[in-house]
């Protein structure tokens, strides 16, 4: 393997220099906490950082010890946890629906068109739940925030998708859904002023329409076609924004941090995600593995004679040592495989002995991330050799 920069140093450098950090990973790996912890570190490095979370369950709020977080950036006081922080930190939560509404306001050609969309039954009930709309709006918001002069770094926490990759693909899916040209074909009779006729170019088209009518009913198809009709004039505006987001995410001043936990399922996700990032030419920054169990056998032995222990305690100590070691070794084995496959040395962040739910905890978690070790080079090389 070619000599490379220490991954922790690369991450620190990214926090110092880049303008966008997107924190990705499957659900439940500590992504939000990681995003917030990196935010604190960036502020300590002198950045004016905004941490934006999308999660409707207010996880970041919990991490920050807040009960509520508005969808407007809110400045946090770091004085108590990082008195020498030269920068500033703000946090906010994305509100999918209001971001979507704001886009409609921005791109509707007139008031009537705007109201037709905002009042549309399909839009009202489904826009926030639209497949991928969280992801799309997250990126939309990101674009807006990068233009906000109060901040020189935006750390974006991503929606808790089942698969980390959904985040990258959802916007394309949404854009293709909103692409009226396809639905225009599909819904042609309804586009024609709601008149139901079956003048359709192909047999498959007619069949598809008949199926849709049978499944969804006339009313829904009318709502849908009204929505697309009203949306059509805005589509170019949306598309232009999407192209800007596309460029932003590939810009060298952006970077992706991939977060994972040391279990087989999430590591597989991470491996696949890394592949796709590379393929899409998106700038990768670091791979963070949270909640690692340290191997107790690695603790340096102070030596000396064994002190006397109460009866039974030695057996219990041996048992907890065995459990922890079994876990640590299993994790190390999977992680070595991950590094061999991706070529990225993961940053190993040990499981904390307490929970993080305040700024102090975030500060400490960030210290741990930037000070994290990687796997022993020797073992990775050996595994890579065995694989080859």
């Amino acid at each position: 393997m070619s000599p490379r920069r220490e991954p922790a140093a690369a991450l620190r450098e990214a926090l110092q220099e880049r303008h966008v950090i997107v924190v990705c990973g499957a659900g439940g790996v500590g992504k939000t906490t990681t995003a917030a912890a990196l935010g604190v570190q960036a502020a300590m490095l002198g950045r004016r950082v905004l941490v934006c979370t999308i999660d409707p369950s207010r996880r970041l709020a919990t991490s920050l010890g807040l009960t509520r977080l508005s969808d407007k950036p809110r400045a946090l006081t770091l004085a108590r946890v990082a008195p020498d922080a030269a920068g500033e930190m703000s946090a906010m939560m994305l509100d999918t629906k209001s971001t979507f509404d704001a886009l409609v306001h921005r791109y509707a050609k007139d008031e009537a068109a705007r109201d037709r969309i905002l009042q549309n039954r399909f839009y009202k009930h489904v826009s926030a739940a639209l497949h991928g709309s969280h992801e799309y709006m997250a990126m939309e918001k990101l674009l807006e925030l990068t233009l906000d002069e109060r901040f020189d770094l935006v750390v974006l926490d991503t929606p808790p998708t089942l698969h980390a990759l959904d985040f990258l693909e959802a916007p394309d899916r949404l854009m293709s859904f909103l692409d009226a040209s396809v639905l225009r074909f599909f819904l042609r009779p309804y586009f024609a002023a709601g008149r139901v006729t079956l003048r359709i170019a192909t047999r498959t088209g007619a069949l598809a329409l008949k199926l849709a009518d049978r499944l969804l009913g006339l009313q829904f198809l009318q709502d849908l076609s009204e929505f697309f009709l009203a949306f059509e004039s805005m589509y170019d505006g949306f598309k232009e924004r999407a192209a800007k987001v596309h460029a932003l995410l590939r810009d060298p001043s952006s970077g992706f941090v991939l977060v994972t936990a040391p279990n087989a399922a999430t590591l597989d996700e991470a491996r696949y995600f890394h592949e796709r990032l590379t393929e899409k030419q998106m700038p990768f920054v670091a791979l963070i593995v949270n909640r690692l169990h340290p191997d107790p056998a690695q603790e340096p032995d102070p030596g000396g004679p064994l002190p006397t222990l109460p009866a039974g305690l030695d057996a219990k100590l041996i048992a907890v040592h065995r459990d922890m070691q079994a876990l640590a070794r299993a994790e190390a084995k999977t992680l070595i495989r991950l590094e061999v496959d991706t070529g990225e040395p993961p940053l190993l962040v040990p499981e904390l002995e307490t929970d993080i739910h305040d700024l102090r905890g975030l500060r400490e978690a960030g210290d741990l991330i930037l000070g994290a070790r990687t796997l022993p080079r020797r073992r990775v090389r050996r595994a890579a050799g065995a694989r080859a």
């Binding site: 489904v126 739940a129 089942l162 498959t204 049978r214 006339l218 603790e299 102070p302 064994l306």
Partner: protein
């Protein structure tokens, strides 16, 4: 707070359908498998449903890779499993609705369908729920369906989809399907919800949010909270004091089998702190909800096996 799990299990198993919900990574599928084993022990026939699980827990029960993405298969006597694939469920639905088999393939393979299906909001979730309700209606084949709800992370969004669909689609089969799902969800004799959490801040906070949403927004009957991965008491009070004292005194040396005392002490301190957190979150859950709380221990194994699952099932049966 009631704390009698055989009664809790009786109440859950009296339903046709049990949803397990909780933040990603709390081990819902393992809990589902343990519950299925409990039901099996009572002589019930049970279907364990997973959704697009990359590593389905079914395989620990004997499920084979490449099993049908829509039809449950019996993996142990009395236990059936299925790992539902939304696209396959959708196709099955179209086949049933369209009647004309020869057109189904053309529709399903047409680019319009592909595009619409991949982006249509909530459609896969709605189809999955419809499929699950069909399974519960099949009384000849089995007594109970346990669902490991997909960890979308958006709270209970999976269960809220039929409400949005019902409002958006006033007539037609899909709208009607949504309304059928809602009536099953809200039928307290038919469906129950158990929330799974682990003793960590986020998992507990979200678990409590799920409970609140379940009652307020979905109207489903929440029956239990299952706290998974609990660290149990290993050391008594005097032993804990001794461990901390030895750590502070930089004690060294080797225990039996060459185990380093220092390493064991560090592992012990970690265990003690995690144990304390477990107790803390138990108390917090008890205060926050009147629902019964079932606890399952943390298992230290690289990969769980059937024996571990049986052990967890026994714990659910014989809750202190």
């Amino acid at each position: 707070m009631r704390d009698n799990s055989p009664v809790v299990l009786d109440r859950l198993f009296a339903r046709r359908l049990v949803f397990l919900s909780g933040k990603g990574g709390v081990g819902k599928s393992v809990v589902g498998a343990a519950l299925a084993l409990c039901a099996q022990k009572r002589g019930m026939r049970v279907v364990l449903v997973e959704v697009e699980a990359p590593l389905p827990v079914a395989r620990l029960l004997g499920g084979r890779p490449g099993a049908s993405p829509i039809h449950p298969e019996e993996v142990l006597p009395g236990i059936l499993t299925v790992n539902l694939e939304p696209a396959a469920v959708m196709e099955e639905y179209i086949k049933r609705t369209l009647h004309i088999q020869m057109f189904v393939r053309r529709i399903v393979q047409s680019p319009i369908y592909q595009r619409f299906y991949s982006a249509a909001p909530g459609l896969p979730e709605l189809m999955l729920l419809g499929k699950i309700m069909d399974l519960t209606d099949d009384r000849h084949d089995h007594d109970l369906v346990i669902v490991d709800s997909p960890a979308t992370g958006h709270g209970l969004s999976f269960l809220k989809v039929p409400f949005a669909a019902s409002a958006a689609i006033p007539i037609g089969p899909v709208g009607n399907a949504a309304r059928r799902v809602i009536s099953h969800l809200q039928d307290h004799e038919h469906t129950a919800l158990a929330v799974v959490a682990i003793p960590e801040e986020m998992a507990v906070v979200e678990g409590l949010e799920f409970l609140e949403q379940a009652q307020r927004e979905v109207g489903i009957a929440a029956e239990a909270v299952i706290l998974n991965q609990c660290h149990e008491a290993v050391f008594d009070e005097s032993e804990e004091a001794r461990v901390l004292e030895l750590l502070a005194g930089e004690a060294g040396g080797r225990l039996a089998r060459g185990v380093s005392l220092r390493g064991a002490l560090v592992a012990a301190r970690r265990q003690m702190r995690r144990r304390k957190l477990t107790r803390f979150y138990e108390t917090r859950l008890k205060r926050a909800t009147p629902l019964p709380l079932l606890r399952l221990p943390r298992i230290f194994a690289e990969e769980l096996g059937l024996d571990d699952l049986r052990g967890l099932a026994a714990r659910l049966e014989a809750h202190p």
